[in-house]
């Protein structure tokens, strides 16, 4: 065992925890406005200690820079477990069980780097339909361990509209990610670089096993595969239909363009996008488009979102909170669309009552697909209203 274990950083929103083996257990807190804050911080540390049975005596120094309880808790747990590898893992006690509707409104999934407290704080507040806490690309290999513990603690304390964790591929760090983050009960797990049925089924089995161990009702943790390779696009149908847990499939253009050597233009990606939408719709799941990476170009974002919507996508990835509102605006039906849909449904229901066969409205035939589209718009509109009034 090394003499000292240090986790975290002296950055705003973060804290640094230093663990040193000692003859007795001591907690030392360094913070601004110590008279006001030290006791509360000590309570957080004590809470972690109470959930780590078998902890050896040590000196725990917490240097705090405006970090919330879940950050302090995570950094403390990470440091203690690194110092004493035999220790188990804590389970946040505050997360209630829930299972969200499969077809919940998911216009946006906001990517948040899983090891950056400054960017994580408040990420649930920007109005994104889904928050995606990332353990993959935004977390360097050395930080994977502390990131998954931070994500777990955040999941335990923060009230998200819907939250997924993007784990690492199962052949890198993914197997270690799952048992840790599931303790925080995320609504879904995003699997990057999905390339076939096998990976999804393996993930589903792992989830089932872990759910059982943690006392989570089986099948409640959903899977969102991200298709971002040529192989994945070719097997999109297989991936989308691989498991009951899959509720949505997302497209990742960054890796895809690299994989096939394409440039990032609409035309170059049209096949992949179309294939993904068709696979999703054939398997009755939602389709979500890739992120738009130029933050400054709101017009470009809106144009691409419109195109994605017209292809059949139900949502889009988001890399910055300010992209949320423009995307929602595109996916939300306009008042005119809602009004038209309402009329279509009215006329159709009226015709049904009267036992009429063919129905026309304003000289246009209302057939089954038109009626279904109208019902979908009304449903979207009602979900939108629920989001607003929540």
């Amino acid at each position: 065992m090394s003499a000292q274990t240090i986790v975290g950083a002296l950055d705003k929103g973060d804290c640094r925890v230093t663990v040193t083996p000692d003859s007795t257990l001591k907690i030392e807190i360094k913070t601004k406005a110590s008279e006001m804050l030290a006791e509360g911080i000590e309570a957080v540390v004590q809470g972690v200690i109470d959930n780590l049975p078998g902890l050896s005596p040590c000196h725990i120094l917490v240097e705090e820079f405006g970090s919330l309880d879940y950050v302090i808790g995570a950094r403390t747990e990470t440091a203690l477990r690194r110092a004493f590898p035999a220790l188990g893992s804590t389970t946040p006690s505050t997360t209630p069980h829930r299972e969200l509707p499969r077809d919940r409104l998911r216009r946006t999934r906001l990517y948040c780097p899983g090891n950056n407290p400054r960017l994580l704080v408040g990420c649930e507040l920007h109005g994104a339909d889904v928050v995606l806490l990332d353990l993959e690309d935004s977390v360097p290999p050395v930080a994977k361990g502390e990131a998954r513990i931070l994500v777990k603690h955040m999941l335990g304390m923060v009230d998200f509209p819907e939250v997924w964790v993007r784990i690492n591929p199962l052949n890198t760090y993914g197997l270690e990610d799952i048992p840790e983050v599931l303790r925080g009960r995320p609504d879904g797990i995003c699997l990057p670089k999905a390339e076939g049925k096998g990976g999804i089924q393996q993930l589903s089995e792992l989830l089932a096993k872990t759910e059982k161990e943690l006392g989570i009702p089986e099948g409640t943790t959903k899977i969102i595969p991200i298709v971002e390779t040529a192989r994945g696009v070719l097997r999109a149908d297989e991936i989308a239909g691989a498991d009951e847990r899959v509720i949505q499939m997302a497209f990742g253009a960054e890796d895809y363009t690299r994989d096939v050597g394409a440039s990032r233009t609409w035309d170059a990606l049209l096949y992949a996008r179309s294939a993904i939408v068709a696979a999703c719709k054939a398997n009755r799941i939602q389709a979500s488009d890739t992120v738009f990476s130029d933050l400054e170009d709101e017009e470009g974002l809106v144009t691409e979102t419109r195109q994605a919507k017209s292809l059949g996508f139900d949502g889009k990835g988001v890399i910055n909170p300010r992209q949320v509102a423009p995307i929602h605006k595109v996916f939300d039906p306009t008042p005119a669309e809602i009004e038209y849909a309402r009329k279509v449904v009215e006329v159709a229901e009226e015709a049904q009552r009267k036992g009429l066969g063919a129905i026309a409205m304003g000289g246009k035939m209302i057939d089954q697909p038109v009626l279904e589209r109208a019902r979908r718009i009304l449903k979207l509109a009602s979900m939108m209203r629920q989001e607003v009034t929540k």
Partner: protein, 514 residues
């Protein structure tokens, strides 16, 4: 000690002056005549020029126990206050009352002058180290007094504070004492605060580093108000006027607050051609002001006026035709000053016009305004003076003036600063009563004062995330363990005046924690 209408304890007297407890926002009306001004005569006809501060102190007859006044337009770049106090110290003066509009970290030497006995009373804002020092208690002969911009103007006119000598930094002056802060080598911006000091002081000294040919025009301070023009090498550093707080925030949380605040204005019912608003200089207000500008462009709306501390952002909005007039309270960067020199739509107004407590000041013409806070409580009361640890670290600025004047006063706050909750059960110090605060915007939602049910309806109809303040508070508190709060003793560190001169709260010495 007496209890005022907010339930806060205020002292009976400050020095010899009887303290009036706060009774309500507009219960106390100005009565009778204003204080009398002094007649002036310049014996060396044709020139008021002196060449050193030491000589000036002798000529104005500055004595122990007198009151000296300054302005803070150079903010953290001011050299004048320190120079004058050092000269006073050299003369061996004692017991002066310091009546600067505000003090900044650059004025840290004031602490030594308090220790030496040169200064034994302060009335004015203390931003930073001097405030922290005074907060320890036992260092001043009587409680400090904090007033809003308008409240300070009123206090001088009403005779609550009699200024013996006003030392007014001006970047250009002529031999007769016409003076400006807008022109010259080191401009600080229009001398919006100083008209009342110059007119009411027993002796008025313009301190300048640039003597210009007679007459200096346009002037902020006119020759009939001045007794002496003291020429020195340096008066301040214009580059230090802009401080770090004058940057648009980059924090996603704060940008989110700004976005909600801009939406609140948009759906307030006042957002139409000819409306008006006051931007703030804090990171959130700046961002919200920028977003309102973008909304105005989209909607094809022009504001009759935008008012407040002026930054490049407001200059750009003026030049983009987003407002018909820019009413200038104070320059916050060099672009603001450059614009004053050339843009006819950029109208400097003295603080009396801006915010004097006469029921008809410019703030009363405001539709909407953004304000900050160190704390707010469930009654919408706002604290801008003390931190939750009880230390007095900020002035009032225009907070009270704008809050009671604007039709929709919007306070923008994060719910947590680090681990410190910003929404509390009871604010440490009441600066502005909740009665005049209409909306509190946080990253967790928008709370509307129950006194404004129509505004609340408009926000709900627009789909804004309207919540109860108590719910927002509870949401934030879930993320941090409870913090301890100060236990206060009996010693009054400072009295916070409401705009009408009554005492709305006291700042007490911290004795412990609970």
């Amino acid at each position: 000690m007496k209890k005022n209408a907010m339930g806060r304890m205020v002292p009976d007297k400050i020095g010899d002056r009887i303290v009036t407890p706060y009774e309500g926002i507009y219960t106390r009306r100005p009565e009778g005549r204003k204080a009398a001004r002094w007649q002036r005569f310049t014996d060396n006809q044709g020139s008021k020029v002196l060449h050193s501060i030491d000589e000036t102190i002798d000529r104005v007859g500055l004595k122990d126990g007198m009151t000296i006044s300054f302005h803070h337009l150079f903010r953290d770049g001011d050299y004048v206050i320190n120079q004058v106090l050092d000269a006073c110290a050299r003369k061996g003066l004692k017991g002066l009352r310091l009546f600067s509009t505000a003090l900044f970290p650059v004025h840290k030497p004031v602490i030594d002058h308090i220790k030496s006995g040169l200064i034994d009373r302060i009335e004015g804002s203390m931003n930073g180290p001097v405030g922290a020092y005074v907060s320890q208690g036992g260092v001043l002969a009587q409680p400090a007094v904090l007033r809003s911009h308008g409240g300070r103007w009123r206090a001088v006119e009403a005779g609550d504070v009699e200024i013996d000598v006003a030392f007014l930094a001006a970047s250009q002056a002529d031999v007769m004492g016409n003076a400006t802060g807008v022109f010259g080598k080191t401009p600080c911006g229009y001398m919006t605060y100083s008209g009342v000091d110059a007119q009411y002081a027993r002796k008025t000294v313009v301190i300048t580093n640039e003597l210009a040919p007679y007459p200096v025009f346009p002037f902020d301070i006119q020759q009939g108000w001045t007794d002496y023009v003291c020429v020195v090498d340096e008066i301040g550093d214009p580059d230090s006027i802009a401080s770090g707080t004058l940057q648009i925030t980059k924090s996603p949380t704060r940008l989110h607050i700004a976005r909600l605040a801009a939406e609140a204005v948009k759906y307030s019912g006042y957002f139409k051609d000819g409306f008006s608003f006051q931007g703030g200089a804090g990171g959130i207000s700046l961002a919200a002001t920028k977003m309102i500008g973008e909304e105005m462009k989209r909607a094809g709306i022009v504001a009759n006026f935008i008012m407040g501390g002026v930054t490049k952002l407001l200059i750009d909005q003026l030049n983009d035709g987003l407002c018909r007039k820019l009413m200038h309270g104070q320059a916050f960067d060099r672009w603001a000053i450059e614009s004053l020199q050339k843009d006819p739509g950029h109208a400097p107004i003295d603080v009396g016009t801006y915010a004097n407590y006469d029921g008809a000041c410019a703030t009363a013409m405001l539709d909407a305004a953004f304000l900050g806070a160190t704390e707010v409580d469930l009654d919408f009361n706002v604290n801008v003076n003390t931190h939750s640890d009880g230390r007095l670290l900020h002035g009032i600025g225009g907070h009270q003036d704008v809050a009671h004047g604007a039709s929709v006063a919007i306070v923008t706050i994060p719910t947590l600063r680090g681990r410190m909750p910003v929404i509390v059960d009871e604010v440490t110090t009441i600066t502005t009563p909740g009665e005049v605060i209409d909306v509190i915007v946080t990253e967790r939602g928008i709370a509307v004062n129950p006194r404004q049910p129509e505004l609340k309806d408009r926000f709900i109809k627009a789909g804004l995330p309207v919540k109860e303040l108590a719910d927002i508070k509870a949401e934030a508190e879930r993320l941090v363990q409870p913090v301890k709060t100060p236990v206060f003793g009996d010693e009054v560190i400072a009295v916070i005046e409401w705009v009408d001169g009554s005492a709305i709260d006291s700042v007490f010495k911290v004795e412990g924690w609970k």
